[in-house]
Symmetry: C2
Subunit: 303 residues, 2 copies
């Protein structure tokens, strides 16, 4: 796809940085969209553009200027705790910004293929009043429904990915990012503090962020319009095993405190990779490698 233009929102985030690198290496002209004042421009030959995505006219100007062939929409408020504190902002950031982006693309470049990254934390709508577990889940579920409805109304090629927990090198507030940062902190001395875990038995699916980006690329280029692609490693791993994987890579004296979360959701179902495997994608980076790379990232920042 040499010469194709791709707009990547949330480009300064954990996934966004990997995505910019990936698409630039694949020969795309990458337009990396970041918040006003979100940091310095990217290397790797990406063009960095600042835009407030909750400002509809700014989004219109952005899309008019770039006229992308593809858009990878990663931007959003991505934290459950934050969504309880600022629920209206969460709806604005996750739902309305997506509508603005879809609408700007509809007007400027209707054939542009847009991938919106959804969440495994979506709740399922059944009959009766909807009962999301938190505002984040509400915002992401509405984002998906609104974008699918939009695609139906205007015939736009919109695609969706539902990733599991992304891990690997870079600044991440996910569990493995927090563990990697903690290990690096403990190794560098300073006040020793235990890591607080909700349970050893709870299970999660972890996927390397670079594998996720490869999946996004496959979906953007060959995915079925309107479809939702679940992506993950397909493996369930207990939080206890996850912590152990970090501990055995360090000589530091690492202690864990258990603080059970009475509101913890049940273990998720295994991620079914049948649909995404139809695009020729499967996870390639082993869990152990992701852990190594996450640790290396935080050790380097500490060093």
């Amino acid at each position: 796809m040499t010469g194709s233009r791709i707009l990547i929102t949330g480009a300064a985030g954990f996934t966004g940085r990997h995505a910019c690198r990936h698409f630039a290496a694949a020969g795309f002209d990458v337009y990396a969209v970041v918040r006003q004042g979100a940091g310095e421009p990217f290397d790797d030959g990406c063009r960095t553009l600042a835009c407030e995505l909750t400002d509809s006219s700014a989004v219109r100007k952005l899309v008019d200027g770039v006229k992308p062939d593809f858009a990878l929409h990663l931007a959003g408020m991505n934290a459950v705790a934050e969504s309880w504190k600022r629920p209206a902002d969460c709806m604005e950031t996750n739902l309305l910004a997506t509508i603005y982006l879809l609408d700007a693309v509809r007007l400027a470049v209707p054939a542009c293929r847009i991938l919106a990254v959804s969440s495994m934390l979506n709740f399922s709508m059944t009959s009766g009043a909807p009962k999301p577990p938190h505002p984040y889940s509400l915002s992401k579920t509405m984002q998906l429904l609104a974008a699918q409805a939009w695609a139906h109304l205007f015939g736009q090629p919109v695609l969706f990915a539902q990733p599991s927990n992304l891990i690997g090198p870079g600044p991440s507030n996910g569990l493995c990012g927090l563990l990697a940062k903690w290990v690096a902190d403990e190794e560098s001395g300073g006040a020793s503090r235990p890591f607080t875990l909700s349970s050893y038995e709870e299970k999660r699916d972890f996927l390397d962020v670079r594998d996720a980006v490869a999946a996004y690329s496959a979906i953007l280029q060959r995915g079925e319009e309107g479809a939702v692609y679940k992506i993950g490693s397909g493996l369930q791993r207990s939080l206890g095993d996850t912590v152990e994987a970090f501990k055995r890579r360090s000589a530091a004296d690492l202690a864990v405190t258990l603080r059970p979360n009475p509101l913890a959701p049940p273990d998720p179902d295994e991620v079914d990779l049948t649909f995404i495997s139809g695009l020729g994608w499967r996870p390639a980076i082993p869990f152990e490698q992701s852990i190594e790379d996450a640790l290396a990232y935080y050790r380097q920042r500490r060093g």
Copy 2:
């Protein structure tokens, strides 16, 4: 409810004007919210406040200032044709403004009972991707879902009404409003032009706007939190009969042109009034009276 404060949004609209009058007469302190520059203040002892409801901090300031006991949220973009032209604005106006209002009330007066007026044009969500017939339907369906979910998350007392087609005196862009205006125009001379109708057989439920406001009052004061109250006359009337009701009230030479609408939805189900009748409400104003009053309104403006 003498002395209770009620905030009424969309107060300058067809329903809003009647609502302000109704609640003021019932002894409420009425705070009538209108758009910036939406016209002169109301009589009937209402306080008029200008506010842009798509501006979250303006909404916060509004609610902080009034600290209402009740809120009747009538404001919104209320036209299918307009929603096709400005779909993102429609989502912002109908969905996001509702979230801003709920959130401002949550922070300032969490016990305030809020009635959001939904629409008979909502589409039903089944499994699979949502397929609304137009952006207006998408916005109103999302408004209902988001507000119900919000009520679930924060325990706010939110209520919903789904009215049928409102008719009666005042400026309305509904079918009967357009017919009344047309008759008054024809009677006052000027270029004679036929009224364009999609079909004589199509059926609708028409409810007087003053009856609707009485229902909103009952729901606000005695309705079940989270519930959706359908309101209507309970009678289906053909468009042909509706036109005839206007024609036989005028000596003017009135001609109708048929222009079938291939996208016309099927006739709606009869409005089931069982649930709302539990609040002691039923329609009181006969159809013929609504027609008379609609005609009188437009004839007076012409005269």
